[in-house]
């Protein structure tokens, strides 16, 4: 068991630099999720940890060992691939035991460990089947089983759920979480799905264009995004971002209309500053339908353009300052398109970003 350290890690393909000197400290037994859009360098980073990609500069340490030049087999990590990568010509038992066999473990040990992993993942009935005879979820479990039998220092997951249908994905997500509880090991998990990131991670690493944008617990990243990218990427539906300018203690939106500058942010902005005002749909609700205990709010009248019923809440599409935004109506009633409602906006949860840099005006 060990933590993983990335120290100014760079990846270049020829002249093209795709990962730009990232630093990351992953604690022992920590579940860290690398999340970001396609091409942000998250999978490359994971593959560099696994040893499947060389690093162009910097250091990677697993535990105390610098592993820069070690081949994958000497790093003692396990990996679950997006396409499962089960060996098609071997049955489940041989797939699970393959790594141990290669390591030259005695047959008895292999049998015990395979049985243990099969027990944990509920695979005992499937041992004699080949991958082609398994369902998507079962294949996924075999892939995880193959990772845990070797008792590695770390598990690496490369978008393991993206090939599953929505229902199975939720189910496997909880299984992965439970698995981490049972076999406490360091986990590095790559996904582009921010819901997976939020639900699974001890800490989230948000990446974009080969840079780490923010590292923090799911709550930190959700509640205190450092820039507009993180704000819009984490959270579903995404945060509403409306451009404006600071004028006399208010944010005057470019498209018309104002809201007060949130009290806690007043000292961080100056008059005339171009900003982007951010508020999550959860913090913008019709009066009487959510946002009760907010200390600092303001009210605005908005017209319903579209309402999506989600059951316990209704997502309302509307416009503010000429820009489409979303609000949420909790404890919903039927809505008509064109209906104007007074919304309460929770200012103490609102955000301000500098328009020029995109960074939060209030660094944490």
């Amino acid at each position: 068991m060990a933590g993983i350290t990335l120290d100014r890690v760079v990846k270049r393909y020829g002249k093209l630099e795709v990962v730009h000197g990232i630093d990351l400290e992953i604690g022992h037994n920590e579940f860290v999720v690398l999340v970001g859009p396609s091409g942000c360098g998250k999978s490359t980073t994971l593959r560099m940890i696994a040893g499947l990609e060389d690093i162009s500069d910097g250091d990677i340490r697993i535990g105390e060992r610098v592993v820069n030049d070690l081949p994958p087999r000497k790093r003692n990590v396990s990996m679950v691939f997006q396409n499962y990568a089960l060996y098609p010509h071997m049955n489940v038992r041989d797939n699970l035991g393959f790594g141990l066999k290669i390591a030259g473990q005695p047959a008895k040990v292999i049998e015990e460990r395979v049985a243990e992993a099969a027990g944990i993942l509920g695979l005992s009935e499937l041992m004699d089947r080949i991958p082609a005879e398994l369902s998507g979820g079962q294949r996924q479990r075999v892939a995880m089983g193959r990772a845990i039998v070797r008792h590695p220092d770390a598990f690496l997951f490369d978008e393991p759920l993206s090939n599953l249908d929505a229902k199975l994905r939720v189910q496997m997500r909880t299984e992965i979480k439970k698995l981490h509880g049972k076999v406490a090991t360091t986990v590095v998990y790559v996904t582009h799905d921010q819901v997976e990131a939020m639900t699974l991670a001890d800490r989230i690493v948000v990446m974009k264009d080969g840079y780490i944008e923010q590292v923090g617990t799911p709550m930190e990243v959700f509640n205190h995004p450092v820039n507009t990218f993180v704000a819009s990427f984490i959270g579903s539906p995404p945060m509403n971002l409306i451009p404006g300018r600071i004028e006399g203690g208010e944010v005057r939106f470019s498209g018309g209309g104002t809201v007060p500058v949130p009290g806690r942010l007043k000292e961080h902005v100056r008059g005339g500053q171009e900003v982007i005002f951010g508020v999550r749909p959860d913090d913008l609700s019709p009066i009487g339908h959510g946002i009760h205990e907010a200390r600092e709010t303001c009210e605005i009248d908005l017209t319903v353009e579209l309402a999506e019923l989600l059951g316990t809440e209704t997502l309302i599409y509307t416009s503010l300052a000429g820009q489409e935004i979303q609000g949420k109506m909790f404890d919903p009633r039927d809505l008509k398109v064109g209906e104007t409602l007074t919304f309460r906006l929770s200012l103490d949860k609102a955000h301000l970003f500098d328009a020029a840099t995109g960074r939060s005006v209030r660094p944490r």
Binding site: L52, R75, N83, R139
Partner: protein
């Protein structure tokens, strides 16, 4: 006409067409096999005797020098030459084909596409067009009428094909399988032998069969580059049955059967591997 009847008519027409096509393809072969067991007079009879009246093994015993009538043809030497040349050239072509196919499927290197195209273009040159330059080269090197001379020619004929076919099979195997094996503790070499090779086996077997048959059946170049029992192969040996004024059709057909049978046996033995499809299921399609 009802729909069921239409469907049945269509099926029958399809079946008939297939049957006719199969006949067209099979009859010459069958005729050769049949003629191998008939005396010359029945083969040459006019009008032709369609249904054999007099089946005999004499054509074979004659070739092998058994009994009173014999034909002075060293079939066993030819057979041995064919076997050595076809097997050796196939094994070499497969080794090079596996290495080359793997490299083309897995690695990035300079001028990769140009190399590949070059290999394929090599196949467009008809072998016989090379016979004169090859003959001159070989005679300088002193390897005319040697097994080695033919082996080299057949290897170079077969390599582009084996590389191309095996490359295709390796391409079908996802990279992640080899990577998973490496993370699981394999060296790249082990990952190849334990994971990728078994999955590409059917492709390699297919390439092997084709390479073997090409070498086994090749006539044009072999007839130029061989002279004596040191290197003459079975197809070249067929010419021994022709003389200035006569052709021993019966003997020739018997010899043709001797050539066909090993090829048939080989194809039969590896037919299981020729059916691909093992790679499906291990990874999400």
């Amino acid at each position: 006409m009802t729909r069921a009847l239409k469907k049945r008519l269509k099926a029958t027409a399809l079946w008939l067409t297939t049957f006719v096509l199969m006949i067209v393809m099979c009859v010459p072969g069958l005729w050769v096999v049949l003629s191998a067991f008939r005396p010359n007079r029945e083969i040459l009879a006019k009008p032709p005797v369609w249904v054999p009246q007099d089946l005999t093994l004499r054509n074979f015993t004659k070739i092998f020098g058994i009994g009173e009538e014999t034909v002075a043809i060293p079939v066993l030497s030819y057979f041995w030459n064919s076997l050595v040349i076809a097997t050796t050239s196939t094994v070499i072509a497969l080794i090079i084909g596996m290495a080359g196919g793997y490299a083309f499927a897995r690695f990035r290197f300079r001028f990769k596409n140009a190399w590949f195209l070059g290999l394929m273009l090599f196949r467009t040159v008809p072998g016989i067009a090379l016979s004169l330059p090859v003959f001159m080269l070989w005679s300088r090197l002193g390897i005319i009428d040697t097994q080695m001379g033919l082996i080299i020619v057949y290897v170079s004929l077969n390599v582009p094909f084996t590389v191309w076919l095996i490359d295709g099979f390796f391409r079908q195997i996802p990279m992640s399988l080899s990577e998973a094996a490496q993370v699981d503790g394999c060296t790249r070499w082990q990952a190849f032998w334990k994971i990728e090779f078994p999955l590409a086996k059917s492709g390699i077997a297919a390439a092997g069969v084709f390479a073997f048959l090409t070498s086994w059946n090749e006539f044009a170049l072999a007839s130029q580059l061989t002279r004596s029992t040191d290197s003459k192969t079975l197809p070249v040996g067929l010419m021994d049955f022709t003389s200035q004024f006569t052709i021993d059709w019966a003997g020739m057909c018997a010899m043709a059967v001797i050539i066909i049978v090993p090829a048939l046996i080989l194809t039969f033995l590896v037919q299981k591997h020729l059916i691909a499809g093992l790679t499906f299921g291990g990874v999400k399609g």
